[in-house]
């Protein structure tokens, strides 16, 4: 049953991606103001939402690692693997946001980039998590995971700032699609449906990649633990 579910999930994800693409390109109408270029929203906004979700998973994993590192090392290692997987997949989605955004901005605003609050805080978020991944890649020693967990927690503090930035400050970036004031958001239900389908599709894709990354890291942890055991046995 578990094997069937594991085999079906990628198939459902691919079907959702195809359906989401169909909705975005062929079903949703052009935006009244921006026209065809508005369709970038169907990849841009879901990528941002999924990135936020995965940074939250990284936050929970980092807290879990710090909470269990002395009392339950096995559970702490699992939490650490979730923290790493969440951060890495989050960076991938955040990279998509930071590349599709300027492409959209160039056509909608006439500029590739502006240092407004939403764009700047998103870039800072990306830089924090890239530094988290670099720390994990190049630092060595027993303190590395603890330092990474602390950095992961501080990095996650930027997520609510990014989310609230176009509510707290006047920005070039448009008002939020969901949860904004009465004037913001999508008015056409077909557009809303297309966005929700793409959100679901990218969420499933993200979960698939996240589980893969988690299992790769767990395998790496097992390998490292065996190597350490053998080294200790050799020293004795």
């Amino acid at each position: 049953m578990k094997k069937l579910a594991l085999g079906l999930f990628p198939v459902i994800t691919v079907l959702l991606m195809v359906w989401g693409y169909h909705q975005a390109i062929y079903v949703a109408p052009d935006d009244a103001l921006q026209g065809y270029i508005f369709r970038i929203i169907y990849y841009h906004v879901p990528s941002a939402s999924v990135a936020f979700l995965f940074f939250a998973i990284s936050l929970i994993g980092s807290i879990g690692y710090l909470a269990f590192r002395r009392s339950n090392p096995a559970r702490a290692l699992a939490a650490d693997a979730w923290a790493l997987a969440g951060a890495e997949v989050g960076v991938v989605f955040c990279t998509v946001v930071l590349t599709t955004g300027p492409l959209w901005g160039r056509r909608a605003w006439g500029i590739w980039w502006t240092w407004d609050a939403r764009l700047t805080t998103t870039l800072v978020l990306w830089l924090i998590y890239v530094s988290y991944l670099l720390l994990r890649r190049f630092a060595a020693g027993p303190q590395m995971q603890t330092l990474a967990a602390v950095l992961g927690i501080f990095g996650a503090l930027d997520v609510p700032i990014v989310y609230m930035s176009n509510r707290w400050w006047r920005t070039q970036h448009p008002a939020p699609v969901f949860g904004g004031d009465a004037d913001s958001g999508m008015k056409d239900p077909t557009m809303v449906h297309a966005l929700l389908w793409n959100m679901l599709a990218w969420f499933c894709w993200g979960m698939l990649v996240l589980f893969l990354r988690y299992h790769v890291e767990r395998r790496h942890q097992q390998y490292a633990a065996q190597e350490a055991e053998e080294a200790l046995a050799g020293a004795d």
Binding site: Y36, I37, I40, V96, T100, R213, V216
Partner: protein, 49 residues
């Protein structure tokens, strides 16, 4: 199609393509990493025999 529509279409194609290049590139890297971990485990098993 006027020039604006053509440019809009090209930018949408670019955004969707970049998204898939990033996502599939990461998936491929993950596949290589998975295979390398698997090989390490097999080598370990072989050496311990």
């Amino acid at each position: 199609m006027d020039e604006r529509s053509i440019l809009d279409h090209q930018f949408v194609v670019a955004a969707y393509t970049v998204t898939w290049v990033i996502q599939l590139g990461y998936l491929a890297w993950l596949g290589f990493k998975w295979r390398s971990e698997k090989r390490n485990a097999e080598r370990r098993l072989h050496n311990s025999r």
